[in-house]
Subunit: 412 residues, 2 copies
């Protein structure tokens, strides 16, 4: 295999062209557990909501025309002929010249078409003085005004939040059909990497990437299958990758992609199925040795071992694929305008991502993008960071104080 | 009790003054389950990460000074005296004039202080031609350069995302101490309200608010205790509210706060403890009948029954309280600039919230805030909405095409 660096956009295009998202399974989810899940099918209402004309105030149900001549100085007098209660269908029929006491949420009695607010009336026994005119439908929430029978209330692919789940409850539903979240296998490669929780032998480091990437998978609304650290020999790696591919919709490895003699990952990944490796290195910094393959129509991302690079490449290349698989609109990273705090340099010929922290310049009332301190690739370089600035391939540097767009790691 | 409307800011201030956030309990959480949890204590590293000088490239470990005179035309010749492997502590000591083969991630042998990339060398048996000069520390990730022993890596109160969980793994941790999420009791009041999943009798509506508000609670990182619909009589309500207060850190009711004869909620809430009701009506539209009380140092929010109003008041008044309780930075709602699509009117003397959808005006390349169609208070008026525009108390209207700030319900 020949390592030919692709530009970032080219890599994205090749991934898009090769990616045929599998149809995810689906399952019934109880409403109270459906937050952030993706709806499998359109929800068409079988009923009107509300299913009757409701009062939106406390007051008196009337025939609007009986009040047309009322005003503050010349009240109209109506006869109170009864009372309705919330939750009970009134049995009376309102006649001309009559009013029925009503509370918020109660159904209007037959014959009534409006409600006068209690504040606009004065009552003495069954005599009601009405000090204001109301028009038909006033202070009434009409049958079907929230949802009409036959109306499509929610659409397949919608992500369920508070108001969507409220709308499902309004229809009397207690559960709803959602896509199963995609399964994403996450594994770390490298003889120098060991599982946290063990004693650290000389020359080894604790695994970071399986944890940070699994968390990033959860953040996308998918489910990680945590494989942890895989021994860096051809047989183990091949066996684990085959198992990962069989059990997951997407496979993410990190480490084992440099040109070192022990790095078999790209070769093994390429052998798992057609078309095999489609992206073999990306002209970015950090993240250059990223490899992308497809086998059995599933994408396999081999990210660098460098924790900051692995997470950046996840956000840039992997997240959009998981979002497509979830049937979520693949949202670009949110960005925010800021000003470069120092001169930001690019790596020769490569798109360069400078990880930054946003600092408020109180005097000038603007945001400054300050590159975070710390060794390149250090996981701690990301913990204090808000996002990154891109320096383009053909750009030597971004000047101090130049306006930049900061792509944010997460929405605050 | 006298219903005296407060301005929104006054209501917020009164809530802040009365709110003494209880210390939440804490628990150990496995790293892979810690996404979006809040750290209980500072994390101070007991170790250097990495714990040895590592090569960041494949190549040859050298003494930098041995290469100072090397360039493309005049390579320096070194003797390859051995090989190191990732994950193994090398036993050799590098002497002047020697080089040791090294892979990415492997520890530098004693005596070496830099690494020459394999691309910048040519090897014949044990003879190595070095075509470039390297400076000390070049291509080396130094011991402790990610995390130094004694360094505070994360702070109490930080919300754990991918990079924070990666940093915890880097320290060899498998679990971490987090605050328990606050418990929020959610209940709906109203004789006209019944649980979804049942048959709908005439005059009744399905409960919406317990579902939408419980979901909004989950969205804040807290845990809802779902009480569903509570019968609208004084005894049941008093008993349930007492139980809710005992089991939760915050209580949210909706409905039962209009002036109707059956609405006992404010009285009962006031009787549960001192200081009782502190906000009795807010000068906003929708949301006016909102009541806030404190008892046993816990806040009780009585929101309107109108689903859109209940959810809006949740975002405006309840969410900041839950965030403070979670020890999360109480983030104001994110807002975005747009232009009014039509004239937006205010209710006389009340802060008015106009629920809007954002539409892209492609021609002028700007966002338009369009009021959503639908009955006032309809839950479906929120399902298609992006946020709301505030029309201030002293403002009669916002003109079409005027610039507005749209407060977003959620980050997209």
């Amino acid at each position: 295999m020949f390592r030919k660096l692709m530009k970032l956009e080219e890599a994205k295009k090749v991934i898009d062209e090769n990616f045929k998202p599998a149809q995810l399974g689906d399952e019934d989810v109880a409403l109270l557990e459906a937050y952030n899940r993706v709806l499998k099918e359109d929800i068409v209402s079988q009923m009107d909501v509300p299913s009757f004309d409701r009062s939106t105030v406390d007051g008196y149900a009337v025939k609007a025309e009986d009040t047309f001549n009322a005003d503050e100085n010349q009240p109209m007098t109506l006869i109170v002929s009864g009372m309705t209660f919330a939750g009970e269908q009134p049995r009376m029929v309102l006649s001309k010249g009559e009013a029925v006491e009503i509370v918020t949420g109660a159904p209007l009695p037959e014959g009534a078409d409006a409600v006068v607010m209690v504040e606009d009336t004065e009552r003495m026994d069954d005599q009601l003085q009405v000090y204001t005119a109301v028009t038909p439908k006033m202070n009434v929430m009409q049958r079907g005004s929230d949802i009409k029978s036959g109306e499509t209330v929610l659409h397949a692919g919608q992500v369920l939040g508070a108001s969507e789940i409220g709308a499902l409850a309004a229809l009397g539903l207690t559960k709803t059909r959602c896509f199963k979240p995609p399964m994403v296998a996450v594994l770390s490669i490298g003889s120098e990497v060991i599982e946290p929780g063990k004693l650290l032998p000389a020359g080894k480091i604790f695994d970071i990437n399986a944890y940070s990437l699994s968390t990033a998978v959860i953040e996308c609304g998918a489910k990680p299958i945590f494989f942890g650290v895989v021994p860096d020999d051809k047989a183990s790696l091949s066996k684990t990758l085959t198992a990962a591919l069989a059990s997951a919709d997407v496979v993410i490895t990190s480490g084992g992609v440099s040109v070192g003699s022990r790095d078999y990952t790209p070769q093994i990944v390429d052998s798992l199925g057609k078309p095999g490796v489609v992206v073999y290195g990306v002209a970015v910094k950090p993240g250059k040795p990223t490899t992308v393959a497809f086998a059995q129509d599933k994408p396999l991302f081999s990210l660098p071992g460098n924790p900051a690079a692995a997470l950046l490449m996840f956000y840039l290349l992997v997240r959009p694929v998981i979002q497509r698989l979830c049937c979520r609109a693949p949202s670009d990273m949110r960005s925010i305008k800021a000003f470069a705090g120092v001169k930001l340099f690019s790596a020769k010929g490569r798109r360069t991502f400078v990880v930054v922290r946003l600092v408020l310049d109180v005097e000038k009332c603007r945001l400054i993008a300050e590159p975070v301190a710390g060794a390149s690739g250090a996981i701690t370089s990301l913990t204090g960071a808000d996002g990154f600035v891109e320096v383009m391939e053909n750009q030597q540097y971004i000047n101090k104080d130049e306006e930049v767009s900061v792509k944010l790691f997460r929405s605050v």
